[in-house]
Structures are given as structure tokens and as C-alpha cells.
């Protein structure tokens, strides 16, 4: 039912796939995500819907191949059905006319901020985009971002493209130079922390999008709990967008740290090596080549 229609490699380890999912494409709004399980028995992962076409009935997702499940999703060929997609989940972003809006993103966050930029400029805001990448190779969706934003700044950590430096440096300069009404940030936890501390001094409204670990993505496991205003809330129901000043990122980053460590666990390696062996898609792919 959920067939992969097209597939594209955008940058190093970053892929974009279009999936046919008419029910979801009809309902999805900017900022919402879907929960994907590539094959039966895999982990379910939340991924932001970057683009959608309700007349064709397709949704596009962009992901970085870092873990087991995203790795498997990347190996699925065009025409292969995906076992399960659930969505659209989460609350849609609050898009209002604010004036000058700065959208800042690093790494894979650049893909997730694209629908937000488009939505903000559609309601008549002046959108300034800041995109940070490690190198020129890992920069993606540059043309689309240039179209969606009125002005765009690009930084790379090693200086291989445009400006050398961090995305947050540009934000600091921008705020000094001109008036900014609203900041929207997606990226690593450290980057979002930095952004929130910058905007707190000037008391500029800030919203961020977080990506916690989720299991079922419908508010039943409690894995994605975060503390907002001193209260525990579930990011899959009330998120993934939160007010940058209200959410306690320190607490959240601690929880995420333990899941990162687990990738280096012994049992984890054992399983991933096993699953590679018995991956049916790979076998199917090899058999197809042999036939030709």
C-alpha cells in the first residue's frame, strides 16, 4: 500500500524518498510527522513530512542514514512497499504573520525547516533563512531554501562553502543589526540551547522542534516525555514544536544521551550484524541482478 515512488540522494548519507500515502497526504500540515516501520518487526521511527502533494497522494521524507532502521529504509528500492506508515502525527506549527522571521537550521534540520519557511512566507512574513552544515558535501536543499526564503545565509564548519563558522554566529549578528520578531530553530540540542539563550536576552519569541526517541508515536509509551513549564508532556501528542523558553532542554539532552550510548552496546552490534545477513531486500536485489 505504501509504495516508494521515487528516491533521491541529496547529500552524503542523506536520502529523500517519495511514498504514496493518499490518506496522509490529504491531512498533513507543516510541522507534522509520520511514524515509519520499514519492515515487519523493525523499530518505528518518527520522520518529518517535508513535502506533500494531495492531488497525487504522495508524501516526501528526508532522512539521514545513521541508525539501523534508517539504514534499512535507505536500502529499500523504488517500487518496494513500506510495511507501515502512521500519520500525520503531532500538532501543526503555529504559522502567523509576525513580521521578520528567522528560520535557523543545522544538519538534517534543514530538511525539516523547509515546509516551515514556505508556510511563513505564504502568510506574508519576511523570512530569513540560516543554514549550517559541516561541509559543502553535507549541505542539501540549497535551491529550495533560496526559493522559500527572502534572504539566506549559509555557513559551513570548515569553510568549504560560503561562510566559515556556526549558524548561531550569524543569528547573533542579525539580531544586533536589525529587528527580528520571531525565531524558529531546528537542529542539534546544543544548537537550540544556544539559540534560546541568544533570544532570551532580547526577549524574542522562539519556537523549536525537537526529535525525541519514540516507540509508538501516539502517546502510549511515554518515551518522548519532556518537561515544559515544569509539567511532563508527551512530545508526540503536544509537540514536536515547543516554546524555546519554556522547554527544559538540559533534562531532555540527558535522556537522549543514554540512547546514543546504546548504539555502541555489545548486544546492539550483534543484532545489526545478524540483521544485515538476513535482510530480505538485499537478497531480492542481488537475485534481481543475477537474473538480468
Amino acid at each position: 500500500m505504501f509504495e516508494i515512488i521515487s528516491k533521491q540522494i541529496l547529500a552524503q548519507d542523506i536520502k529523500r524518498i517519495d511514498i504514496s500515502a493518499p490518506d496522509i497526504a490529504k491531512k498533513v500540515k507543516p510541522g507534522q510527522f509520520v511514524s515509519i516501520c520499514p519492515e515487519e518487526g523493525d523499530e518505528r521511527i518518527p520522520l518529518t513530512v517535508v513535502d506533500w502533494d494531495s492531488s497525487k497522494g504522495t508524501i516526501s521524507i528526508i532522512f539521514q542514514e545513521i541508525g539501523q532502521t534508517t539504514g534499512k529504509l535507505g536500502t529499500l528500492p523504488i517500487g518496494e512497499p513500506i510495511f507501515s506508515i502512521l500519520g500525520p502525527l503531532g500538532v501543526q506549527s503555529q504559522i502567523e504573520k509576525k513580521g521578520t522571521v528567522v528560520c535557523i537550521a543545522t544538519g538534517i534540520g534543514a530538511a525539516q525547516i523547509l515546509p516551515i519557511c514556505r508556510a511563513f512566507s505564504r502568510v506574508g512574513n519576511k523570512v530569513i533563512g540560516i543554514v549550517g552544515a559541516k561541509t559543502k558535501k553535507s549541505l542539501m536543499l540549497e535551491a529550495q531554501m533560496r526559493l522559500a526564503c527572502n534572504k539566506i545565509f549559509i555557513t559551513t564548519n570548515d569553510g568549504s562553502y560560503e561562510r566559515k563558522g556556526l549558524a548561531t554566529d550569524i543569528l547573533r549578528e542579525l539580531i544586533k543589526k536589525r529587528e527580528v520578531d520571531f525565531v524558529y530553530a531546528i537542529g542539534t540540542i546544543d544548537m537550540m540551547k544556544e539559540v534560546c539563550s541568544i533570544t532570551k536576552e532580547k526577549s524574542i519569541e522562539t519556537r523549536i522542534q525537537i526529535k525525541p526517541v519514540m516507540v509508538d508515536c501516539m502517546g502510549m509509551c511515554g518515551s518522548c516525555r519532556v518537561v515544559v513549564n515544569g509539567k511532563i508532556v508527551l512530545a508526540c501528542i503536544e509537540g514536536p514544536e515547543f516554546d524555546g523558553q519554556e522547554i527544559e532542554l538540559e533534562d531532555f539532552s540527558k535522556r537522549m544521551e543514554t540512547f546514543k550510548e546504546s548504539c555502541k552496546c555489545k548486544n546492539q552490534k550483534l543484532i545489526s550484524s545478524q540483521q544485515k545477513k538476513e535482510s530480505p531486500t538485499l537478497m531480492k536485489f542481488l537475485l534481481d541482478i543475477l537474473k538480468d
Partner: protein, 419 residues
């Protein structure tokens, strides 16, 4: 063989014995005569999950049994399991039936929803069950671990229900993928909300947001979603420590502990009440102990301690005991009895509350203060006409058998509403 075959059996009474109203003495007589298929037919009149109830039912019928007063009661649950496992036909025949043109939508393919769907399909309605996850079964698939309800048994029971003509639409989240109003415009005349109570109750102590702290639902879901092959059967796919502390006195807590013991970890189960006042059957508790779970009753968690990296280091607890509080015999903390249990994973399973996503998107449906859907106790109807609610979403956390009984009741009132 000991069953006295009472003339007015209490065990089959809806209010005191089996909430589903299974005619217990009749099926026991069939078994006594050696007619296992006949016994299964008697159970199947009221229960579509006979093999599952035979495994995990809380068995109110055994409490109601007249023999429970002086000797031990008839083991009705085990008899039901035997009848269901050996009395059913090996192959499922698809029953061609003329369905009428009335469409009923059921939201949630858990025990309550499927029971209602099964009952309505038997009466000839076109039933569609909407399920958000990828497979039907609800708590039976994602909550109860494999050693209590094997997935094979569940699959065959669901196939039986499907053979009656019940359509099950998975990956469809009512409230997000479509709303209740969308369902109405698609021509569904009766809608039953049976989404259950799956959200964990959060514990109000310091340190619950540390790394290595799971809630029972998350832990069980991760265990159940793990793909098991012969090699990876005892290897968890998520971060889990060597010393595990499980907090809670219910079935979920015991399931968590028993699932964790199967990963060959050191498991301690702690709860606040005395051991014989837990909500678990005694035999299950004995199984757990035999498997190596250390049970520590009358202990309250004060704080979950953190190490320097932000993950769990231990659990600070305090002992509880009975004391005279203003003339009442209550359990209160013993002063100066604080101690620490070393642990690197803590699993909290202290209760559930209903998931409010559906009622948030459809504000016409009125909810109670504790987020359960407000229903009329007599006929399960909600504040919106044509929309019914049953199961744990309406009553709060309740045993499996009660949720199924409410499903039956809701099916009857939908039938009444549509005819």
C-alpha cells in the same frame, strides 16, 4: 469433576461471576462427557477470545464458585483454556453471510473493539475496525508479553473474527488520519470508540526523566516489537542495564519483571502494599518468584538517584508499615528507614490513563475530569448521537474481561440504535 452443577450458578452470573455470562456449568458438563468441541461451542457463544481468556483472565468466576468457601474453587480458567485450545477447528472457514447495508465503525482493535465487532458482524452489520498500529490486537499484541499470550494464538483468534466478515483497517489513526466527522460522511451510522487506556500514569518523584527510566508500557512495547529469531531471542534491542528495579503492584509490573528476567537480568519488584493485597493472581506471583524475581513488598520510592552522566544509579526507598492514624489502620512510611537499591534501569508501572488524542480532536464528545469519555452507563452512548464508547476509555483501567463485557453491551445498544 468436582463441579456440583448448581441450579442457579453464581459463576455464570453477569454481576457476580463471569461478566460475559458464559454458561460455565454447561461447558464443564460437556468436558466431563468428553465433548470438547461442544464445550468450546458453549464458550464461543459469548466469548470470541476463548484461548486468551483461558490464559490471562482475572477469573471472577473462580471467586464466585460455591466451592471457594471451604475448599479450593474449580479451576474454570484452566478448563476454558483446555476447551479452547483443543476444541476449536484447525482451519478457519470463511462464512458467507448476507450482510445488511448498515455500516458500523469501531475505533481501536483491542479486546473491547474486536469483541463488539465480532458481535455486530454476527448480527449482520458491515463492521470496519480502525487500528492505528500495524497489526490488530491492541494490548494483547503490544502489551501482554509473548509467554503469557503467544502471538500464534492471538493471530488465530483474530482470523476467526475476520472470517465473519469484519474488516480491519490498520495504520489508520482516527483523530489524525481521519476524524469522526469524516467517518460519518463516509456513511458509518454507528461509531464505537474503544481506544482503551494506554497512556502511563506519571510518577511524581524526582528523577523520573533520567536516562534508563522506562514506563511499563514502553518497556513491554519494545519487548513485543522486537523481532525474535533463534539467535536474538534473549538479546534486548534497547539499552537495558544489569540490575533492574520494577515499581508497581499490578499485572503490568509483573509482566515487565517477568519479561526482564528472561533477558537474564537481576530483577527486583517493589510495591507499596503488602504482598497478598496486590492485583495479581497468586499463582502468577509464584511463577514470577520461581523465575528468579526478588519481590520486596511494603516499599515506597522516594527518589531515583542519578550518576554523573545523567543516567540511573539507584533507587532511594523508604519502608512502609501499618500504623494507627487517627483511629484508622493505614500504611504509612516508617521513619528513618530509608535505604538505596542499586539499579541501572528502573521500570515504572503504576497504572494507566486514557489516551486523549481522539477526544481532543472531536470536542463535541464530553469527557470526565480524568480524561475518560463520559458515557451513559445503561447503553454506553456518549454526548454525540450515534457515537458510543466502551472499554477502558470509558471506565478507566479495568481487567480485560470487564472491557470485553462492555464491548458486548455496546454492541447490543448499537444494534438497538440502528434497528
Amino acid at each position: 469433576m468436582r463441579c456440583p452443577q448448581c441450579a442457579h450458578p453464581i459463576c455464570a452470573d453477569v454481576t457476580q461471576g463471569c461478566p460475559l455470562g458464559i454458561s460455565v456449568p454447561k461447558f464443564i458438563r460437556c468436558l466431563r462427557e468428553g465433548n470438547v468441541t461442544g464445550a468450546y461451542d458453549y464458550i464461543k457463544q459469548n466469548n470470541c477470545f476463548a484461548s486468551i481468556c483461558g490464559r490471562i483472565c482475572s477469573a471472577p468466576c473462580e471467586v464466585a464458585c460455591v466451592l471457594s468457601e471451604d475448599k479450593s474453587p474449580i479451576q474454570i480458567r484452566e478448563l476454558e483454556r483446555f476447551a479452547a485450545d483443543f476444541g476449536r477447528t484447525r482451519f478457519v472457514k470463511k462464512i458467507q453471510k448476507n450482510l445488511n447495508d448498515k455500516k458500523v465503525a469501531i475505533i481501536g482493535a483491542g479486546p473491547c473493539g474486536l469483541t463488539a465487532g465480532w458481535k455486530l458482524a454476527k448480527q449482520g452489520y458491515q463492521v470496519t475496525v480502525f487500528e492505528a498500529l500495524d497489526k490488530p490486537g491492541g494490548v494483547l499484541r503490544y502489551g501482554v508479553p509473548d509467554f503469557r499470550v503467544p502471538k500464534k494464538v492471538l493471530d488465530s483468534e483474530i482470523n476467526n473474527i475476520k472470517s465473519l466478515g469484519v474488516k480491519i483497517k490498520t495504520n489508520f489513526f482516527i483523530g489524525k488520519t481521519a476524524t469522526i466527522d469524516d467517518l460519518k460522511s463516509q456513511g458509518f451510522e454507528g461509531i464505537l470508540i474503544a481506544t482503551g487506556a494506554g497512556t502511563p500514569k506519571f510518577m511524581n518523584v524526582k528523577g523520573t526523566n533520567l536516562g534508563g527510566v522506562y514506563y511499563g508500557e514502553e518497556f513491554l512495547m519494545r519487548v513485543n516489537l522486537t523481532k525474535t529469531s533463534i539467535f536474538s531471542k534473549y538479546i534486548p534491542t534497547f539499552p537495558i542495564g544489569e540490575k533492574i528495579v520494577v515499581v508497581g503492584a499490578g499485572n503490568t509490573a509483573l509482566d515487565c519483571a517477568r519479561a526482564a528476567v528472561r533477558f537474564e537480568k537481576q530483577v527486583t519488584l517493589i510495591f507499596r502494599r503488602p504482598e497478598d493485597e496486590t492485583f495479581v493472581r497468586q499463582e502468577e506471583r509464584e511463577f514470577g518468584k520461581a523465575e528468579g524475581i526478588k519481590v520486596e513488598p511494603m516499599i515506597k520510592v522516594v527518589e531515583i538517584l542519578s550518576d554523573d552522566k545523567g543516567s540511573t544509579a539507584g533507587v532511594k526507598c523508604i519502608r512502609m508499615d501499618y500504623a494507627d492514624v487517627d483511629g484508622n489502620w493505614e500504611i504509612i512510611p516508617v521513619p528513618d528507614s530509608e535505604f538505596t537499591i542499586e539499579a541501572d534501569t528502573v521500570i515504572i508501572a503504576i497504572g494507566h490513563k486514557p489516551n486523549s488524542t481522539l477526544s481532543d480532536t472531536c470536542t463535541e464528545i464530553k469527557v470526565n475530569r480524568n480524561k475518560t469519555v463520559k458515557i451513559n452507563r445503561e447503553d454506553c452512548s456518549t454526548s454525540v448521537e450515534g457515537v458510543f464508547a466502551a472499554g477502558n476509555v470509558a471506565t478507566g483501567a479495568n481487567p480485560l474481561i470487564n472491557a470485553m463485557a462492555q464491548g458486548l453491551k455496546a454492541a447490543e445498544s448499537i444494534d438497538k440504535f440502528l434497528s
